[in-house]
Amino acid sequence: MDAVSLVEENSIRKMLDQKKNMEFFLSVCVGCGMCADSCFLYVNNNKDPSYMPSYKAVHSLGKMYRKKGRVSRRELEEMKDLIWDKCVLCTRCYCPVGISIPSMISWARSICRSQGVFREYDQTDELSK
């Protein structure tokens, strides 16, 4: 899909409002980083911080909440790397305060899907350029 075409901000906002608990989750994350070691992708990628579960949630769904749904298609496309390529939704990330990080990443994906932004596995990097 065209990276500059408009997104339906209202429908994104509605979806964000449906999961107020997630906004609360994001507000109580203290960034302790304990979720990092429970993520096998983080451990296996030289502890690259962008693989930290909290980073992935904060920079996808968190960003949508911060901007109150006013995100551009390009921003949603950029999130794809974080929420699809850097997370397999194994649901094994551990949070000491009980935040469900996978449910936030899953909801961020659902919001992206609602705008026609999703991972297409038959598109290689070369084809999508």
Binding site: L89, P102, S106, W107, S110, R113, F118, D122
Partner: protein, 237 residues
């Protein structure tokens, strides 16, 4: 990963024919990776069903919803407010996902739109090949990393059958004999003595439903009292 293939269109159409309002549920997991049941494929199938029923002048509504994985109840929860609005659901996940979807919504008929094929590899874009049949008794360590269960037509465990013809299988000369390949692989890695080791008869554990407890979690799932969950334990591999 699990590989799946969409069922023939007419078969899918026949399954949903009796319903007027259907939800087609995609899966963002393995079947997306093999282009069988992801969001894109869900939309394609829906368009085809709509057009086909319209041609017959049959009223038919079909909507799409793709969850991230159908094999996880937490991720299926997204459908709790959506599914009850429909008479039936099509599942574009593997057999496991389809069953889990049906389990979550016992009052709604769920039909599979995918044939689950095997556990396999991505050879090329759009080409998938079986590598594992989840038999529960892996012998790859003894066979140089070549699986005799998936590669041999008879799934033989102790050398080739009498039908082996130089490099090929008696089923077809285009199919390589697994045991011929195993022999040369073992020779190459200096483990030819493995071929003389007689493997115990296969237990075919995959003929009962698979349940297994990962190492380190045994205590968590141990029976609380003697005989308490013995029926379940009988099936644990």
């Amino acid at each position: 990963m699990v590989k799946g293939k969409r069922k023939p269109f007419e078969e899918i159409k026949d399954m949903v024919r009796r319903h007027r309002k259907v939800l087609n549920v995609g899966c963002g997991g393995c079947v997306s990776v093999c282009y069988a049941g992801g969001m894109k494929e869900v939309n394609i199938l829906n368009e085809q069903l709509r057009a086909s029923f319209k041609q017959e002048d049959v009223p038919f509504i079909i909507d799409a919803y793709t969850v991230e994985r159908q094999c996880n109840q937490d991720l299926l929860a997204e459908l709790d407010n959506v599914a009850p609005k429909y008479e039936a659901m099509l599942s574009m996940a593997c057999g496991a996902g389809c069953q889990y979807l049906a389990e979550r919504f016992p009052g709604i008929p769920v039909y599979p739109a995918i044939n689950t094929m095997f556990i396999g590899v991505d050879k090329e874009i759009g080409l998938f090949e079986e590598r594992c049949r989840a038999c529960g008794s892996c012998v790859l360590g003894l066979t140089g990393g070549i699986c005799p269960v998936t590669r041999c037509a008879k799934s033989l465990f102790n050398g080739p059958c009498g039908g082996t013809n130089q490099t090929s299988c008696e089923v077809s000369k285009d199919i390589p004999c697994a045991w011929y390949d195993i022999y040369f692989r073992l020779k190459e890695i200096g483990q030819l003595d493995n071929i003389l080791r007689v493997r115990e008869p296969m237990q075919w554990k995959n003929t009962t439903r698979g349940v297994f407890v990962q190492e380190g979690y045994e205590e968590r799932f141990a029976p609380k009292e003697k005989g308490g969950i013995s029926k379940l334990l009988d099936r644990i591999h």
